[in-house]
Amino acid sequence: MRVRTLLAALLAVVVLTGCTAAPGNTSGPAPGNSSPAGNSSAGSGSSDPAAGDNPVGNAESEPWTFTDDRGVTVTLPKRPARVVAQSTAAASLWALGFEVVGVFGPQRLPDGSNDPTIGDVDLSRVTSVGEEWGELDLEKLAALKPDLIVSIMYVPPELWYILPDVQPQVEVIAPTVGITVGQRPIKEAVQRFEDLAAALGADLNAPEVADARRHFDEASAALQAALAEKPDLTVMFGAGSLETLWVSNPPYYADLAYLQELGMNIVVPDNPEMYWEALSWEQALRYQADVLFYDSRTGVVQPPELAAQVPTWNHIPAVKAGQVYPWVAVPPYSWDGLATILEDITAAVKAADPDVVR
């Protein structure tokens, strides 16, 4: 956290003196900030979820309780029907058959299709209460009259896309539930969404749920097999701006930790600040891999622009070899959604030359 602390101090100087105008948001969805560490100064590692103590199948008339991953128990007079959720959480619940009424967070790509974060949520059937980081529209949220508001947590107890300074106002509108997805096995994260969906009345015995689970297991096995065939393949995950290259730190990301589990050799940066290590572009060759999976979210400078504007990008071995693939850095926590991502990764692994770097 040293650099971050230093940066915060520097920013404070800038803001206090007001001489270097940097309008807009230094705390907004910069790739650094919107990379899933959020912008938190809160202590991490406090996630010890009280999992599994939720009575499943609350009847409509009985009081409803759910204990989230902060250890906060929400108690309501009856089972919540109107739920507003951050994109990732909405996608995860939707995949289990529970339809939210409102969403906040990434929803549409520039071409109008669904952002990977929002999964299969039918955007024509939900109300958006904000897409950008820090853009939660409290009036619109209140007008939806939600019974419950759900988000994910990368750095508990901070709810993603609900800035700490508006959280008290959000709590006035409806109680919040946070599900931890950072630094946690990916299956456990999905299961927590199953707990929540079940508590909300979703039918986990539906054949679609079992099919999706099977889909995920098959995709996992296929990737494991593909990786076993290329034991020397090395892989790096990252994102960039015109000034900085962020190299992802696998243990913090549920998806990357799972890929490691399946046998993927992922570059681990030496001095990560939680979710990543920030490098200047001069340092583009500091870590090398045969394949680079690159954050595909809007707001992250994408490879064509890097190729044109950052000369050292073109020296990266994986770039030279044409082995750069999109990475869904904020995946939906649903079996089907994850399976699709795994299948794409499998295709990349099968196509990759494992001897780009030795």
Binding site: T17, A21, A22, P23, G24, L279, Q309, P311
Partner: protein
């Protein structure tokens, strides 16, 4: 007013020494950064460039542009600051005071938002236009009801800067793509700037620097104050307008190249005055050399401090500049100058 120079070395000799120091800093800027580069490689990158060599690529395509651009931006900011401090007799004057930075920033954001201009080569023209527009506005407001006194100029500058700043913020909030395009530029940085930006800017930059250097004697007169300058036969209003024009050229160039970078225009004239005295015929050339030396020094510091990442030079100048400003205010009682 403090007077005279310590003059252990003659001023021409000191100017030569400073020029030598600037060359050294510029070479350091090629040599020092977030990865180690040997002197041999740094020199080879300039004389016998091998695009396949990674370190030479770093020197040639990343450090060389930022060094060259830093030279221009540092000179522009420091000379603009000196000229403004003389013309307004306000020791806190720097380019941002006339609303120049705010005007250029707003114009660029507006160009990106409304005109979908995403390349710096397209929007640097708006930087000049915005700088000019804002300073004319500030000058006009300050002149309303007779004479643009230094205090009225400063007040008008602060008001217009705040207004334009809030419009800029509003535009950025309206559209995230605008934010993505300009965020990097708005931070005030020498990194990632292309040398292609230089050709269209250089004529304005050169005209501004040359014009300011030729005005040393007039600035001396102007810095005596409104009444003294008038009694010496100077048309002060016309002179101030000429200085404002030069500042627009200089600050507009600097903002177009690097984004808003603070403190250099403020600090350099003070350091130089303490060193060579209050004669603007000397202050201006010394500022011309010290400005880029300080800016490049700050940029090098930013590369070394946060290694393996980097700090933007605007952040470093603010970090170094704030304590400087405080100590200056306490030691020199600048407000009474």
């Amino acid at each position: 007013m403090w007077s005279g120079s310590p003059a252990r070395v003659s001023r021409p000799a000191a100017l030569l020494l400073l020029a030598g120091a600037l060359v050294v800093v510029a070479l350091l800027s090629l040599r020092v950064g977030s990865i180690p580069v040997t002197t041999a490689d740094a020199l080879a990158a300039l004389t016998d460039y091998d695009p396949d060599s990674y370190t030479q690529t770093v020197v040639r395509t990343m450090r060389l542009p930022r060094t060259v651009i830093g030279l221009g931006v540092g000179a522009a900011l420091a000379v603009a600051g000196s000229a403004m401090q003389a013309a307004t007799r306000n020791p806190l004057a720097e380019p941002s005071l006339l609303g120049v930075n705010a005007g250029a920033s707003f114009a660029i954001v507006a160009a990106v938002y409304l005109g979908h201009m995403t390349h710096p080569l397209q929007y640097i023209w708006f930087a000049f236009a915005g700088a000019l527009g804002a300073s004319v506005l500030v000058y006009g407001i300050a002149s309303a009801g007779g004479g643009a006194s230094p205090v009225k100029l400063a007040l008008a500058g602060v008001i217009i800067s705040a207004l334009l700043g809030s419009w800029t913020t509003a535009l950025l909030l309206l559209n995230k793509e605008t934010l993505e395009v300009v965020r990097f530029w708005l931070a005030g940085s020498l990194a990632g700037r292309s040398l292609n930006l230089l050709p269209p800017v250089v004529p304005f930059l050169a005209a501004g620097l040359l014009g300011a250097l030729l005005l040393g004697r007039q600035l001396n007169t102007l810095s005596l104050g409104e009444d003294a300058a008038r009694s010496l036969g100077m048309h002060t209003g016309r002179m101030r307008a000429a200085v404002a024009g030069l500042v627009v050229l200089l600050a507009g160039s600097a903002v177009a190249l690097a984004g808003p970078v603070g403190f250099v225009g403020l600090a350099v004239p003070h350091i130089v005055r303490a060193w060579v005295g209050s004669d603007y015929r000397w202050i201006l050339p010394f500022s011309l050399l010290l400005g880029p030396a300080l800016l490049l020094g700050a940029d090098i510091l930013g590369r070394v401090l946060a290694r393996p990442s980097e700090l933007q030079v605007g952040v470093v100048t603010a970090l170094v500049g704030a304590p400087f400003l405080i100590s200056m205010a306490r030691r020199r009682r600048v407000a009474e100058r």
